[in-house]
Structure formats: structure tokens, C-alpha cells
């Protein structure tokens, strides 16, 4: 895959994720938001964008806290390991 093709594929993935996030927000589906923001963080990591990844992981953590999701402690631990929460 060429660089251009890879960028186009990544952009498509982000657009698809954006649409899913909007739906999940509209539905108030906390567990799905955790899953989607976690995926967004992974994409950002793959794209070499750690700050963007931290932003998404923060959102995954907050929605995990809100809905009592079992991933909340692990998400917090990941943020703490990156120096993003005390």
C-alpha cells in the first residue's frame, strides 16, 4: 500500500469511527463509547499521535467511570503510566 493509500484508509477509518461515536453519544450508550474511544486511542497511537491518543483514552476512562465499566481501572492505569493522571 502506498503512503497515500494508507492515509486514505486511515482517514476512512476515522470518519467511520466518528459516525459511530456520534451515534453512541446520541444513544447515551456508555459501554459503546468506552469501546469506541478506546479504538480511537489505538488508531491515534498507530498514527504516532500520543496527545490525541491521550485525549481519546481520557474520554474512554470518563465514560467507563460513568457507566461502571470494568475497563475503568485499566484505562486509568494506562493514563497514569503516561503521566496523564496522578
Amino acid at each position: 500500500m502506498t503512503d497515500d493509500a494508507a492515509k486514505a484508509a486511515a482517514a476512512k477509518a476515522r470518519d467511520g469511527l466518528q459516525a459511530e461515536l456520534l451515534k453512541a453519544h446520541a444513544a447515551g450508550d456508555g459501554a459503546l463509547l468506552v469501546q469506541l474511544y478506546t479504538r480511537a486511542a489505538a488508531l491515534a497511537v498507530a498514527a504516532g499521535e500520543p496527545d490525541r491518543a491521550g485525549f481519546y483514552r481520557t474520554h474512554a476512562w470518563i465514560f467507563a467511570l460513568e457507566c461502571g465499566h470494568p475497563d475503568a481501572p485499566a484505562l486509568r492505569a494506562a493514563l497514569a503510566a503516561e503521566g496523564r493522571v496522578d
Binding site: 485525549f55 470518563i62 467511570l65
Partner: protein
């Protein structure tokens, strides 16, 4: 200061006393002045525990202009918090709902535990940076309001200045010690609300005495005659009335509600009806008890929240409905009286009225409680 405020007349012995002046029922300024001494500095009823029956259940309330919410925590403890985020002061809970995990502020998503601890401050140190040395989470938990659950009613002491609930109401708890057993809210068919165009104090006054019964509730007299009632007076804490001829309600097949266990013979035919000042009107009888929580909505409007409780969790639905309807009819009959007294508080010639030294003792005690607490607060402010 209101020109009609002559509280010294209220504080006289009953034979010479007059009631509270008109403006204590109509004035926005006095309504506001009452908040601290009559409501915030003592234990007032907020709701019943049955309104938040399961862990995670939360419900917001407007407590005389102060937004609060009650939460049935995952640890099983019912707590009350001021309904405000410590960040930018956003309301946290806007409608009754289930809170499975953290209480998340809808504005910037600060999150609080069910114990009120601040657990997350997203982006507070910049994007993806969720801590900042100047935002000390340990100092920024929710503002918890002192609360105490008694007989299924959630009481709060907003200012934190009152004595412990069990100390303040030691005499009442002792008086009704035989009823210190589990009570079971009857559920949706055993709660109803009545909106009254009246000041909350008139609802209390009407509940304090029994000799309006033959005039206002003629139907009650078939089983509750005037001479079978007695006054109950405890200055500064509670007042009301009792009856010696309570009769159980019966279902179409003659069945009755189960009794509370272990009651003495007195309660075979006794019933007692008291107001815990300021706003919780309670009734106890052998087979069911009730609580009326008064919610003032300004000086001229009061919402009465009525809740019926039983000795067992699985009582007859038909009988519960019949019982709720019976009480609804009684309380609706009272609306005409309390609204009539409210309307009459516009009469410029009214001087607060008089009290029957024989029959109006509990009502006078309530007036005295109001007048004394207002007087003490005014004197302390000088």
C-alpha cells in the same frame, strides 16, 4: 423588616397569645427569612427512601431553593448532596435516574464517586492531562448534606448545626418505640401528591388538632369521634393529636392488613398523628403508618407528598388502593380549609387570631416554635 411582625404576641401563654401575623403566610421576604431557622438549622423531611429504592437510584430536589439530590449508593447507604459540581457550579442531576458508576458532570465531566469523592478531572491540566497541582481532588468532593433515615423518611439538616437526629427527637422515638420495626412502603399505589394553594404552615396547623374533624371530615366521625382524641405536645419538637378509637380498614372479604409485630394492647384502637417540625406529618396505627412531607413552593403554594407504609412487603394491592383512596379523600377535604385560611390572610383586620386554651395547644406550640426560632435568629443578627 415586615411591619406586621409582632412575634411577641405569639410567644405569650396560650390564653393570651395570638397567631402569626398575616405576612408570615404571604410575604416572599419572610418566606426567605424562615429558611435558615425553620428549615436549614434543624432536621427537615426531604423525601422517602422508597423514592430511591435501589443502589444507583438518584433523585433531585429543590429544597427551598437549594438544589440537592439523594443517592442510594452502591454501598447501600443513602446520602444527600448539594446538587452542584465543584468545578463551575453546574447542576449534576436534573431528573430521577440510575447512576451506575460515577456521577459525571454534564459540563466538563468532572466525576464523583457515590460517596461524593472527586475521582476525575479530565483535561484539567490541558488536553489529555487529567491532573493539575492546583486542583486538589481531595478538597473538591461533593458537598454532602447531613441526612438521617427514620421510619422510611429521609431527613436532612442542611446547615449541619442541629443536634443528632436521634438526640433531638429522643422523646418521639421513645414514644413510638413500639413501632421501631421495619416498615414497607406500599409502592406506587401508596404514594400521591396534593398541591395546595396555601403556605406550608397552614398545612401543619390543620394537622395539629382534631376538633376540626366533625366539621371538615364528617365521614370520619363514624369511627373517630371528637371526645376520643387527645392532644400531644412537646414544645419545640413535635405536636399533634391522638385517637383512642382507631379502626382497621377492611377489604371486601373482611380481611385486614397485618399488624406491626409486638405492639401493646394500647395500639389495638389507638392512632397518633404528629408533626415533626417543620414539615413531616406522621401517623401511626396498628396496621399501617403514613408520612406527609410538605414541600413549600413559595409562600403561597405547598406540595404535599403522601406515603403509606405497611408491616409486610406483600400486602393486598386491593386493600392498599382502598386505604390510599380513603386517606386521599380525607386530605382533599383539608385542602379547602388550608386554602381558605390562606385566602383569608389577605384580610387587613386579621390580628393572628386566637387559640382555644383547651383544644389548640398543639397548634399554639407550632406557632411558638416558629416565632421563637425567628426571634432568636433576629436577636442573634443584631
Amino acid at each position: 423588616m415586615c411591619a406586621q411582625s409582632s412575634l411577641s404576641d405569639v410567644l405569650k401563654p396560650i390564653a393570651d397569645a395570638r397567631g402569626l401575623p398575616n405576612d408570615h403566610y404571604t410575604s416572599d421576604a419572610l418566606y426567605h427569612e424562615e429558611r435558615e431557622p425553620l428549615w436549614f438549622d434543624t432536621w427537615a423531611g426531604l423525601c422517602v427512601a422508597a423514592e430511591i429504592p435501589e443502589p444507583g437510584d438518584a433523585k433531585p430536589f429543590d429544597f427551598l431553593g437549594v438544589p440537592v439530590f439523594a443517592l442510594h449508593g452502591r454501598d447501600g447507604v443513602i446520602r444527600v448532596f448539594q446538587n452542584i459540581c465543584r468545578h463551575r457550579g453546574m447542576i449534576l442531576v436534573t431528573e430521577p435516574r440510575k447512576i451506575e458508576g460515577a456521577i459525571r458532570c454534564p459540563y466538563h465531566s468532572w466525576c464523583y464517586s457515590h460517596q461524593g469523592r472527586l475521582v476525575a478531572t479530565p483535561h484539567v491540566g490541558g488536553q489529555g492531562q487529567n491532573s493539575h497541582p492546583d486542583i486538589r481532588r481531595e478538597e473538591l468532593g461533593l458537598i454532602e448534606v447531613r441526612s438521617h433515615v427514620w421510619r422510611g423518611v429521609v431527613f436532612i439538616n442542611l446547615s449541619g448545626k442541629a443536634a443528632e437526629f436521634t438526640e433531638l427527637h429522643r422523646e418521639l422515638i421513645a414514644r413510638w418505640s413500639e413501632f421501631e420495626v421495619p416498615v414497607y412502603h406500599g409502592g406506587a399505589d401508596s404514594m400521591f401528591q396534593l398541591e395546595c394553594r396555601t403556605n406550608w404552615k397552614l398545612a401543619v396547623e390543620n394537622y395539629c388538632e382534631s376538633y376540626h374533624l366533625p366539621w371538615v371530615h364528617p365521614g370520619l366521625n363514624s369511627y373517630s369521634r371528637l371526645e376520643d382524641h387527645y392532644n400531644i405536645e412537646n414544645p419545640g419538637k413535635f405536636s399533634g393529636q391522638g385517637t383512642a378509637v382507631y379502626r382497621q380498614i377492611k377489604d371486601d372479604d373482611g380481611s385486614v392488613f397485618p399488624d406491626f409485630p409486638g405492639l401493646s394492647d394500647k395500639w389495638d384502637t389507638a392512632g397518633e398523628y404528629l408533626t415533626i417540625m417543620p414539615n413531616v406529618m406522621l401517623g401511626v396505627q396498628r396496621d399501617h403508618v403514613f408520612a406527609i412531607i410538605l414541600e413549600p413552593r413559595g409562600p403561597r403554594t405547598t406540595l404535599e407528598h403522601i406515603h403509606l407504609f405497611y408491616a409486610a412487603p406483600d400486602t393486598s394491592e386491593n386493600l392498599r388502593r382502598k386505604n390510599a383512596e380513603q386517606w386521599r379523600l380525607v386530605f382533599v377535604e383539608d385542602i379547602g380549609v388550608v386554602e381558605g385560611m390562606q385566602a383569608a390572610r389577605g384580610a387587613t383586620g386579621f390580628d393572628g387570631g386566637r387559640f382555644s386554651p383547651v383544644m389548640d395547644g398543639p397548634t399554639h406550640l407550632f406557632h411558638q416554635w416558629v416565632a421563637q426560632r425567628l426571634t432568636d435568629t433576629r436577636q442573634a443578627a443584631r
